[in-house]
Subunit: 353 residues, 2 copies
């Protein structure tokens, strides 16, 4: 007899129009669209947008016509109605922007990697302590993934017992037409810090750990000599502070034959079963993404998480900003995921291509 | 347009009856059945069997009635017609038996882990050098897996370009009724040395490396306090000498709901695509095992390797013994897989349960 799982209701808007006003500053990565879209879906009111590049603002306004272009970052920071600034600027500039945002008395919501150096991390932690404001991070591969959220609900209900390991594979397609900064490791932070940061967040989240130690990590540029600053491969082996382990591999080797940007997988090993997430596609089938496969002592179960969870993170973040609570994600969790990813990046063995 | 792959013909017996006579000594692990069965299928003639436990001999003879029970190991070693001795004795006794077999002028074919300590490895290497005989190892998760062999043929034809990483997951079911030595790490060698040795062999094989370095490894007994000597979890992060990487996780957490002993997976990442092996089952489907999924620039392809490759290793081993060649597997490859697994085991961080 299979136990019955229950799942949270889909999230609804958490505020009335005008109750939570936010702005977007720094449009260098397309993630800003998902961040803004989901804040708006949760009820937030988008007021201002700023980027030094007018063409990026124009693109943004086509998508979000309710916004108004600000003349400068300063205009946004000086606007007392703006409670939160969302940003997907060039990665290594996010932390300094974040500190300015916090010092202006607002909360900050950065695309990952939100921070690329330990110095910037210390500065961000200081700013949070000094201002009491939030430095939230968009770890979209969990908080904006129904497969990942659905798995979280299964785990909370004991579907696989204690989580012993989070192993994840995050291949991505490099494609063409990316901006120069995508090829400069100082600017994008290195592959482990950049796309790997998602996975450190997931290791901490699913295992319930609060910190960890990087046992080993590697990076390489195996096959892209024309862009020597691209790290097309990275991996890391981690032990969490509660004795669980994590492994992550990220790469830029998604082949042309894949129908999505990458065959992202996560395997969650528990004492009483395991869950496999086929997040964006289920190769050689027409199942689509968001496939959650559960094997435990009761049998084998497949869930299509599409439309099953929504993205409650964004409404919780809004409420947290208004209520000064911590339900979306704790500050230290967001920072610790960044810290682990930066350390794994710094100490990575650079492999011969 | 998809390229056409060609696959090797199924293997046939390589010798006539009586042309290659072998014996089995040491029946502690059931793997001996697969080893003997495949040698016989390749044409070898089974003559003698010996184990100190008469009931194990009786079981073996029910399965292989063509064999005759020897009175002692000595009888086997002194029989000039026996060219090779196959063994699945208790793991930490295999090397010493192997040295005796080689010194008796015969070739040796050991279940994995064929060797559990660096001292025994040195002794085995010495014996090979001294006698010119072979110390072959049954790395069954590749040489006795059609999925694994089929993938090898795809890789040889360039289906995914250069192999950059071998990541494998080897969950196993501990079940009940295993002999005491399965719970004594000195005797079974530790989980990484034991079931992980398969995966080191695969890392070397698929990437074409000849050695490697263990970057980090861990072992734990997370959930079996009643058998403190059981390591129910182990993993290792490896860099190969050609710059490729490997990661392996092994565990004893196969849940009751799985229809096979373990959901063995291998992902082979190449510069131009990747291959996923679902070796023993394809969870939540009725596809069965031996599923080989290939994604490259030409598309997504699924192969059921069942019945497609057979197990040419065994015939090649027989021919290698007769012809003093090296086609089945080089000696150094077999030893290096053992060496890496022993080192990973020795230097593993022991995690808190």
């Amino acid at each position: 007899m299979t136990r019955a799982y229950s799942f949270d209701p889909l999230p609804e808007p958490v505020v009335e129009p005008g109750e939570f006003v936010f702005a977007a500053v720094g449009l260098d990565h397309g993630h800003i669209h998902g961040m803004v879209e989901q804040l708006v879906a949760a009820g937030a009111t988008l007021s201002l947008v700023y980027d030094p590049d007018a063409s990026k603002i124009a693109d943004f306004l086509r998508r979000f016509p309710q916004a108004r272009a600000a003349a400068s970052e300063r205009e946004v920071l000086d606007d007392p109605t703006v409670r939160l600034v969302a940003s997907a600027s060039i990665a290594n500039r996010r932390a300094q922007l974040g500190v300015r945002v916090l010092d202006a008395g607002k909360d900050f919501f950065a695309d990952k990697p939100a921070i690329t150096t330990l110095d910037d991390l210390a500065a961000a932690r200081d700013a949070v302590a000094r201002t009491g404001r939030k430095y939230a991070v968009y770890y979209g591969e969990r908080v904006h993934s129904e497969a990942a959220l659905f798995a979280g609900q299964l785990i909370e209900q004991g579907a696989i017992g204690r989580v012993l390991q989070v192993a994840s594979f995050g291949p991505h397609r490099i494609g063409s037409g990316r901006a120069d900064w995508f090829y400069d490791p100082e600017q994008y932070g290195g592959i482990i810090c950049d796309i790997g940061s998602h996975n450190f967040e997931q290791m901490l989240h699913y295992t319930g750990a609060t910190s960890g130690e990087i046992l080993s990590s590697t990076v390489a540029n195996y096959a892209h000599p024309e862009t020597p600053g691209l790290q097309d491969f990275g991996d890391a082996h981690v032990v969490l502070d509660n004795g669980a382990t994590g492994y992550v591999r990220v790469d830029w080797f998604t082949p042309a034959g894949l129908d999505v940007f990458g065959d992202g997988r996560t395997t969650l090993l528990g004492t009483n079963g395991y869950i496999e997430l086929r997040k964006y596609t289920d190769i050689t089938t027409d199942n689509g993404g968001n496939q959650v496969l559960l094997v435990n002592d009761e049998g084998q179960f497949r869930f299509d998480a599409t439309g099953r969870t929504g993205y409650p993170y964004f409404g919780r973040l809004i409420r947290d900003c208004l209520d000064r609570t911590d339900f979306a994600m704790t500050q230290e969790h967001a920072f610790m995921a960044a810290e682990l990813s930066i350390i794994a990046q710094r100490q990575a063995r650079v492999l011969a291509g």
